[in-house]
């Protein structure tokens, strides 16, 4: 089929993402001339109004950046501030933090897989449309999601903006019996996700691969989620305090979210694919086995296959949560006391969408003097544009509505959370 020389495609709203943005693509003679992922979600100025707040308010305030991954914000904030104060949380309090975070991974990944991403692979406008033909998969997806939410609500008090997290630990902790009640639901979620992965592996994945620089946290003893060093597939290995030395953030005129690159190199990818490729040996044996059996051998370089990788991470999270619950005994006290030490604290954790970096400068009286937050979607923004720049020329023989849909799907590979990045997407393709 002949490639059109001029074509204008414009869609006002890209759906099934968290937050508001637009895509603008201009094609001339089959070449992408201009490509802009525009994030127009209004800024909310978190870094500005954190100034003058007290250190212990940071977990609750920064949670409000994102209703989909509040625990990630709470954990990165605790990491940064506790590292400054010389506290390293261990034992059952750390296990409870892991459990709360696994709950969020399960909830957020199940939301993205079944409700936001899967409808693209089957050609439905939404999971609700999909539910008319595939009610069993939507139901199972919702049940997996519910298992994650229930665990979050138990430990955190509620699933969105949990109230129980504080610097040093928790306000109060569950009993062993409280947690044992979640075993059945988590075991069922684990079985459902294995079943779903075997079915989804048979879906059609667009043939698209890129030589990404994958960046994820690395922890010697576990598949990093709560903490670790920053590692990349092109040789970076630095402590979290070195984040701003290796990555550069800059502003572009068309977006309210800052872009991020590896200094001197360019775009990079954070999130499930990066974690899977860098930390595969640390997944549970069953998660590794299921991954290999459905053709996921690291490195996975097809971003559309992130659908499956999220499922593998759900499996890992369910298994790890079950193991931690089995071994749980409540701590002697729910939190470790802290003493304010002035200075700068750095913290990062693995949000469902990738590395979430926090830095705080804190005064002797405990007030925050400066705060910096770099969310995963902001880091992936440049990479999403690079993917689309490669993808769009291959799509030009398709009907216009198909081009648009495929671009949306490619953006959804990243599960972008625009509320985080500035915090929606309007899609606009203009071809001349």
């Amino acid at each position: 089929m002949q490639r059109p020389r001029t074509l204008t495609v414009r869609v006002d709203a890209l759906a099934r993402v968290e937050g508001e943005g637009a895509l603008h693509v201009r094609v001339r003679n089959g070449q992408v001339h201009e490509l802009r992922l525009e994030i127009y979600e209004p800024p909310r100025f978190f870094e500005a109004f954190l100034r003058g707040r007290r250190f212990d308010e940071a977990p609750d305030i920064t949670a409000r950046i994102c209703g989909i991954c509040p625990v990630a914000y709470q954990m990165s904030a605790c990491n940064a501030i506790e590292s400054l104060f010389g506290l390293s949380v261990k034992g059952p309090i750390r296990d409870l933090r892991l459990l709360l975070y696994y709950g969020e991974w399960i909830e957020s990944h199940a939301l993205h897989m079944f409700l936001l991403h899967l409808p693209d692979f089957l050609g439905y406008e939404s999971a609700l449309h999909m539910a008319r033909d595939h009610p069993e998969w939507v139901q199972k997806g919702l049940q997996i999601k519910k298992a994650g939410n229930a665990l979050m609500a138990r430990i955190g008090g509620r699933e969105i903006h949990p109230i129980n997290v504080r610097i040093g630990g928790f306000y109060s902790v569950p009993s062993r019996r409280d947690l044992l009640e979640h075993k059945e639901e988590l075991a069922r979620a684990r079985d459902f996700i294995v079943e779903a992965l075997r079915w989804m592996a048979g879906l059609e994945f667009p043939d698209f691969e890129e030589d990404y620089e994958f960046v994820a946290l690395y922890h010697p003893e576990e598949y990093a989620i709560l903490e670790g060093q920053i590692r990349s597939s092109k040789g970076l290995l630095v402590p979290v305090s070195g984040f701003e030395e290796v990555f550069e953030e800059f502003q572009v005129p068309y977006s309210n979210a800052l872009h991020s690159i590896v200094r001197g190199r360019g775009s990079y990818m954070v999130g499930p694919l990066a974690r899977f490729n860098l930390n595969f040996p640390q997944l549970t044996p069953v998660a590794r086995e299921v991954a290999l059996s459905i053709g996921l051998t690291p490195p996975v370089r097809n971003p559309f296959r992130s659908l499956l990788v999220r499922g593998v991470e759900i499996l890992h999270a369910c298994e790890e949560a079950l193991r931690l619950i089995e071994g749980y005994e409540p701590p002697d006290r729910p939190w470790e006391p802290v003493e304010v030490r002035p200075g700068t604290g750095y913290g990062a954790s693995e949000a469902p969408r990738g590395i979430l970096y926090h830095r705080y400068r804190i005064r002797a009286d405990g007030l925050i003097e400066e705060a910096k937050i770099v969310p995963p979607t902001s880091q992936n923004q440049r990479r999403m544009e690079d993917d689309l720049r490669k993808l769009v020329p291959r799509l030009l023989s398709l009907p216009k509505d198909q081009i648009t849909w495929r671009c949306e799907q490619a953006i959804r590979n990243y599960d972008p959370c625009i509320s985080c990045a500035t915090h929606f997407l309007r899609l606009e393709i203009e071809t001349e």
Binding site: R16, E18, E20, P43, V138, L142, G157, Q251, H423
Partner: protein, 267 residues
């Protein structure tokens, strides 16, 4: 009897974290049943299919913080029969209303290297500052229970049963030991609207007011009581200034104690 057409629901987003609309998707056991009773006509977080207005019910999340959003909320009001604001951002301006106490240009300079690229209003305000609102659901975030009650009441043509008494009443009903009396922990429970089930006291922390002021609260009485027990004025100001800082009762209390402590001038 022939069934009437399904009512059309739209979910709108302004400046927010997406958490309140996520609450709808978090109704895992009720979502498919709900989709059977209501036509989800516009809900971008869940569907790329868009059905044009007018809408029978609109759920509005987020605060109004840019000139475009002012136009958009007016347009939504014209297309909507029953407009409900959901959450602290839409009902009171949200955490981002902290800018209302400062110079927004200064904030822009702090966050962005090229502030001239960013369009924003001086103040982050609730939808009710620009259009009439038919009902408010409080919370940061809203709860699943009250959301389902609202939709159920709407479908059945009755008034939603949402309490407007204080968190203290919920707390007493649950038999929770008062954190202020027993632990000396500052708590906004006496002035905050119920709806959470006294969640924070149940976890042995003080209420931080995420459901906003109750009907006819007395924040001065609470504030003076806390000051008399040794709380520092700047701490008291911050207690009133979080997720509902610009809700009138909390705003006035915050300003009163800020003036006493000379907080706004020194920052």
């Amino acid at each position: 009897m022939a069934r009437r057409r399904k009512p059309k629901l739209a979910v709108w987003k302004f400046a927010s974290c997406d958490g309140c609309q996520l609450t709808l998707l978090d109704c895992e056991d009720e979502l498919l049943a709900l989709a059977g009773e209501i036509e989800i006509a516009y809900f971008l977080e869940a569907s790329r299919a868009i059905v044009r207005g007018p809408y029978d019910i609109s759920l509005v999340e987020g605060s109004i913080s840019t000139p475009e959003q002012v136009e958009q909320i007016r347009k939504i009001r014209r297309q909507t029969r029953f407009l409900v604001t959901i959450g602290a951002c839409a009902t009171a301006g949200g955490i981002q209303a902290l800018r209302n106490f400062a110079d927004v240009r200064g904030f822009l300079d702090l966050v962005y290297a090229r502030p001239e690229y960013i369009k924003t209003l001086e103040k982050s305000l609730p939808a009710s500052a620009y259009v009439p609102v038919d009902f408010e659901l409080r919370g940061c975030p809203i709860g699943k229970g009250p959301l389902l009650e609202l939709l159920s009441a709407f479908l059945n043509g009755r008034r939603p049963s949402i309490p407007n008494h204080s968190v203290c009443i919920e707390c007493k009903r649950r038999g929770i030991v008062c954190v202020m009396v027993a632990q000396g922990t500052p708590c906004l429970g006496p002035v905050t609207q119920a709806g959470c089930g006294a969640l924070c006291p149940a976890y042995r922390r003080g209420c931080y007011g995420c459901f906003g002021p109750m009907e006819t609260p007395n924040p001065t009485s609470l504030g003076n009581w806390l000051l008399a027990r040794g709380m520092a004025s700047p701490d008291l100001v911050r207690l009133f200034r979080t997720f509902n800082a610009y809700a009138p009762a909390f705003k006035e209390a915050g300003e009163r104690y800020a003036e006493a402590a000379d907080v706004d001038r020194s920052s």
